[in-house]
Amino acid sequence: MSTRTAELLAAIGLLVFSLGMMWSIHADGLQIGWVPGRGPGSGVWPFWLSLGMALTSVWTVVRWFRKTTSESRNETPYIDPDHLPLVAVSFIGLTVMVVLVSFVGTYISIALFLGFYMRVIGKHSWGLTTATVIGMVLMVYFLFEWQLSKYLPKGLPIFEDGFLWIDNFRWTYLM
């Protein structure tokens, strides 16, 4: 996909998004004008600003046809094809990590993601990878669960029980 194509798609997409929001305000029955005795209606702010968004998107589409922006003239690929695999794998890996959290819990997901990234993409040694993974897991546990008292997701009950054991240990012996 060239940058030129992406520019048009983005402008049209954002236009549709803006119109969608305007419609949503209308469908919810929010007032977009002055409510007598009360003041500006609740729809005023989002509606007229979304209209502004729609108009600027239309303007961008017009400029695309007239080729006034540098993006609309740019025929080179939208995302650098040499680096696209790296970007895609990084983002997909992150997404997979977030999905896994609901199943195996935060710490296992973090460990898997970090381990995967460092070994497969970074091609680092097992020693460095293991050290970093352990360090990261400990740091997150210490900082967020211990100090900030946040309960991070632990996944399915099988895994959660394991972590509860660790928490019990902490509360009984370390604090």
Binding site: A6, E7, A10, M21, S24, I25, D28, L30, W34, R38, G39, P40, G41, S42, V44, W45, P46, L49, G52, M53, T56, S57, T60, R63, T69, S70, E71, Y78, I79, D80, H83, L84, L86, V87, S90, F91, G93, L94, T95, M97, V98, I110, F113, L114, Y117, M118, I121, G122, K123, H124, T132, M136, V140, L143, F144, Q147, L148, K150, L152, P153
Partner: protein
């Protein structure tokens, strides 16, 4: 006047309390590191580490983040000079002459000049801050909702006028942020608005931190991965005390340029929304204009390093001024700081000086201390930082991703917000590639609720009269702000007519502070 000294002395005392002092050191080190890493700037550091600061009381938290902001201004120069890649957008101007100096073998000189200039910029701006803050807070006490709204219009106009980006796209970005801020329940009428796809989770609205971390954490990493392919190349640097003294003598010559950069930096920083990035670029331009040998700029002129470095440090302090006194962020980083303060339960603005003087003056005191600490750390640790820059991106990237995920979850306790962060991060990255600036959206989502409230309150009190904002008799300050806003918005059109401007590439105008 005497009262200011008393308050400042108290602030300095607080700054030396163990926790606060530890925060200064931690913040400076974090900032130096973050600023030095290519692709990460103060705004990324502040966004990603904001959740971590909930560990400590708000005073310590803001001292940490302010020191981080500072440190990042110093650190940005390290990457610009040794790698030729700006450590952050705030250090772009430093590359112009810093990189050629490194290539000529004068990297030491350049790094030293950057550090000293940053120190001078910081010192001058902190003094100016101390002098201007209380009177400005007094003036702001008289502000009504019309003035508040007009100031926000001015903030957005600054982005449009001085941002240097595509105007319709900048306007879109601002409006998008303002509208996203409206998702959820309307405060005044209590009705739900813009609940996308009727998903109940949207009723809590879209938190600014989710957007900020999405864009400046996830999006930034994706961007840098694409730009560099995960690889960076280093020129090694060694420093000795003898060289340090030699370099110091040379830098004395450039004191006037540095001071000019500092003053300019401070005032550009105080402008709402414009921060260290435009300040450093302007300072470079000004230094070149006033130089006796402008043709040496771009080839390794020390003034080309000193001026922008002084300016970016001065601007970071300057941008805290409107944030603390008026409640309007002076830069993208302070926009996130502002959001953080709201989360902590503090409302920045003139009342903060009255209700929480300890907080404000501890912050101001800490800035003086942070300035000294950072320059000392910077000079002492340059060799170490240069080595750390060689940390592979393949280790940094997943760590940042993990911190973003845990940070957002820790703040909101919802996986929904994590997914939102991913979506906004990816979306922000894709739009940024098309030259849609993202900083205005982040600023807008922070200011959105305040702006809407000011607008509605103004119109309610004026019974629907739109001219209330520009009425010279009742609201002269508001009128003044709106006039300046109009001038700023017309400025790019003026530039277009008088100069043929080459289309700017996307990367430069991504503001990281």
């Amino acid at each position: 006047m005497g009262e200011i000294f008393d308050l400042l002395a108290l602030g300095l005392l607080h700054a030396f309390e163990p926790l606060n002092f530890a925060m200064i050191i931690a913040g400076c080190m974090a900032g130096l590191f973050i600023g030095a890493m290519p692709g990460l700037g103060s705004v990324n550091g502040v966004a990603i580490l904001l959740p971590v600061t909930f560990l400590v009381p708000p005073t310590a938290a803001i001292i940490f983040l302010a020191a981080l902001y500072y440190g990042a201004m110093y650190g940005g120069a390290i990457s610009s000079i040794t790698l030729g890649i700006p450590g952050a957008s705030t250090a772009v101007a430093t590359v112009f002459d810093g990189r050629p100096m490194a290539q000529k073998g004068e990297a030491n000189q350049a790094l030293m000049a950057a550090a000293v200039a940053s120190f001078i910029g910081g010192t001058i701006s902190i003094v100016l801050f101390t002098l201007f803050a209380p009177p400005l807070a007094d003036v702001a006490l008289k502000f009504g909702s019309q003035e508040e709204f007009a100031l926000m219009i001015l903030a957005f106009a600054t982005f449009i006028g001085l941002g240097g980006d595509d105007i319709p796209k900048t306007i879109f970005s601002i409006l998008l942020g303002l509208v996203l801020a409206a998702v959820g329940f309307d405060i005044i009428s209590g009705k739900p608005r813009l609940i996308f796809f009727d998903m109940v989770e949207f009723q809590r609205g879209i938190g600014f931190l989710v957007l900020a971390i999405g864009i400046y954490g996830i999006g930034e990493m994706l961007w840098t991965l694409e730009q560099t392919g995960g690889k960076v190349k280093l020129d090694f640097v060694k420093t000795t005390w003898k060289e340090f003294r030699q370099h110091l003598r040379v830098i004395k010559k450039y004191l006037p340029t540095t001071s000019l950069g500092s003053g300019l930096g401070f005032f550009v920083g105080t402008l709402p929304a414009a921060g260290a990035t435009p300040a450093s670029l302007m300072a470079y331009g000004l230094a070149k204009t006033f130089s006796k040998d402008p043709e040496t700029f771009g080839k390794g002129n020390i003034a080309g390093v000193a001026a922008p470095e002084a300016a970016n440090n001065a601007a970071s302090t300057g941008s805290m001024l409107p944030m603390i006194t008026l409640g309007i962020p002076g830069s993208p980083t302070t926009a996130i700081l502002l959001g953080g303060m709201i989360i902590w339960g503090l409302r920045p603005g003139p009342l903060l000086f009255q209700n929480n003087p300890d907080f404000v003056w501890s912050l101001i005191g800490s800035m003086y201390v942070a300035n000294f600490v950072t320059v000392a750390l910077n000079l002492a640790l340059i060799p170490i930082f240069v080595r750390v820059l060689a940390m592979p991106f393949t280790i940094l990237t997943p760590i940042i991703f993990i911190l973003c995920f845990v940070g957002v979850f820790a703040t909101t306790d919802r996986m929904f917000d994590v997914w939102l962060m991913l979506a906004l991060g990816a979306g922000g990255y894709l739009l940024r590639k098309l030259n849609y600036p993202v900083a205005p959206a982040v600023l807008a989502i922070v200011l959105g609720p305040l702006a809407e409230r000011s607008m509605r309150q103004s119109l309610i009190s004026s019974q629907g009269d739109l001219t209330t904002f520009i009425n010279p008799a009742e609201h002269p300050i508001a009128l003044g702000c709106i006039l300046i806003a109009i001038v700023l918005m017309l400025y790019p059109i003026w530039l277009n007519i008088h100069r043929k401007r080459a289309a700017r590439s996307g990367g430069e105008s991504h503001w990281q502070g």
